[in-house]
Amino acid sequence: MFARDGKNSGLKRRTVVVAMLASVALAGCGGDATSEAAAAISVDGQPEKPNLKLGFIKLTDMAPLAIAKEKGFFAEEGLNVTLEPQANWKVLLDGVIGGQLDGAHMLAGQPIAATIGYGTKADLIAPLSLDLNGNAITLSNKVWSQIKPSLPTEGGRIRHPVSASALKPVVDSYAQQGKPFNMGMVFPVSTHNYELRYWLAAGGLNPGYYTDGDVSGTVDADVKLSVTPPPQMPATLEAGTIEGYSVGEPWNQAAVQKSIGVPVITDDEIWHDNPEKVFSIRKDFAEQYPATTAAMLRAIIKAQQWLDADHGANRAEAVKILAQPNYVGADEEVIAASMTGKFTFEKGDTRDAKGFNIFFDKYAGYPYYSDAIWYLTQMRRWGQIPQDQTDEWYIEKAKSVYRPDLYLAAANKLVADGVIPAASIPQTDGFRGEQSGFIDNISFDGSQPNAYLAKFPIGLKQGQRVAASGVTGQ
């Protein structure tokens, strides 16, 4: 299986050197090379560092890593991989930056924030996107019972998507009693934070701004958001510390199963087919070990394909693997509740959610620049990026973090070997074009981040800054 033809090894080594030079060159010029130039590259060869340790958080969207290990895709690429669960996103991030971990299942915002120096500054890259969708927002039973009567119904069921405006009277009543309305999300630069903020703001609730150097993000907030690690969300909700949360699976279905909360909206309903987690490594790791990087990516791409094969035929097996205590470890039925095309909101209200987790279809693995730019716009919208930036700045930062060239170096080889169809790789300049499908019907064009930011009723505008006392500027 691993046997390499001795006669070819010289050639293989040359390919690696070319690829290495290319990746250094790309990094050197800020990744200005177009994807067409990168498309010619296909890295192959013996992994320089076969023993790897990858981190993950106990969430179903780490599935590509677990599958790549359990179905032998890592081994096929000559890699010996240890997967290690981490306590929370901060520990995981520090592990990758500090070198205890070679790479990790990561929040898309993390490598972006590390690169622009929000939080720990480090050069991390995202050569592959792990999945689309996969999160939801859950409210406590108490709050749900307060808003449910006011929600419009159709055909005897609550009409979806549920708008956050229904929450407004509840939040106001909390304010009148002088109590804060708290909700949880998993990390300041997490998808879940931006999705929860997007949903609240679309319903006319201000989720608060971040000041320079402060990570609590509660200036001018109607709803106060705080960080809780994903697996502890249900326990924190049960303890009454928070009234709701935004988190990935299985922790929304866990709330339903334990009867402690009700999921009200999936992220697919907030932004249709939104990019979710990435696979992230250090930039110097990719430069130092190009063949290892490509081998890792190939194994993960194969796993993504396996997960989405035949309209989810393998999902049941994937659920069994994820339920092992060393992966996600939750009960099988809880994991299956979202992985197999259904999603339960209130008890008894189970609906089709075909696209709840997309790992391979719809180019889910390709790291689009525009996805990174969307995250950057949200960082600016809520004050994590303290001052205005030009459109070029957004695009340049996105290109230094998201690395389709590395993705293609791995994927092209899989196409050449006939493992994945050529049609599964997009022909693109890295921008998805104008995207709609947002809950507030505001469309997003990745090439014009500032014009996009100007469209939001709630959010920082051109020239505005946040101080502890509130928003200043025009």
Binding site: A3, R4, G6, A87, D94, G98, S259
Partner: protein
Amino acid sequence: MATVFADKFDDGTAQPATEAMAGSVAGKVSAPAETKTASAASPLTGIMAKWGQTIVAPVLGILAFLGLWAALAPQVDTSLGALPGPVQVAEQGVSLFGEWQAARETEAQFYADQDARNAEALSAGNPGAVRDFEYAGPPTFLDQIFTSLKTVALGFGLATLVAVPLGLAAGLSPLFNAAINPLIQIMKPVSPLAWLPIVTMVISATISSVDPILPKAFVISALVVMLCSLWPTLINTAVGTASIDKDLLNVGRVLKLGWFAKLRRLVLPASLPYIFTGMRLSLGVGWMVLIAAEMLAQNPGLGKFVWDEFQNGSSQSLARIMFAVVVIGFIGFGLDRIMMSLQSLVSRNHQI
């Protein structure tokens, strides 16, 4: 001089600290008092009383506890289902053992497959394809136990190496004692978890090699254990050294013993019981600290096992955590017993 360590003796006597410091289980180092009282009565009642104390009462206590647990646990309904009783916990213990066996088989299979592939590659004349991978499966419960034991051993060893010389110096020199005393008093009450971020940052900065000999996480846990288990040994050593009989020291002066000889023949023998008492306390503290540090820092070990299971939130999680708690307790008890026998060994030969 010894009085600066105000937490030392409540009763002010200068007897070796074995009894003064040890917990309730520990009072049985020297000849137990109950035999003396028993000898006054008839031998039979003596034996009965002794058996009652050593066997019957503890067994009854444990049975009563298990009974209460079994009766009360189902009443508590958590979001992970009802609280598991002793039976479910024992079942999870068995299944953890089964998982360990399965993991061993998988590991053996991995190496067998690898050897087979390597042999194939060699016979095909392709030595480049020979791979020597370490099995990279998830750590089992037993692996985690051994990791924790190794960590606590290293941390405790380091703590002893630092604390004993410092304690001796502080006991022998009032000046040095006065100098370090405030530092000790301030550092001693610091929670282990407050050290953790500092130690983590320092170690991450100092160990920068790609493939360090000791994994960073292991060193961090061990250092946190050391920082917290240092103090009992240090204080006891200092008190023991300071409370040496002055006559002994005078004899040393008359015999014109050198500094090293004085240390070896007078000071160490006299303070050994104290040192071992301190070490025993240190090990207990170290074991407690380690589990907490592993939970917070997610370093491999029993603490990580507990936290991972908590994060799993499956219907078996609680029973598995309880089983881990029982195991942690037994290991702590075992470590304490080992230290206790060492302690009685050294104090038996040095009646001062």
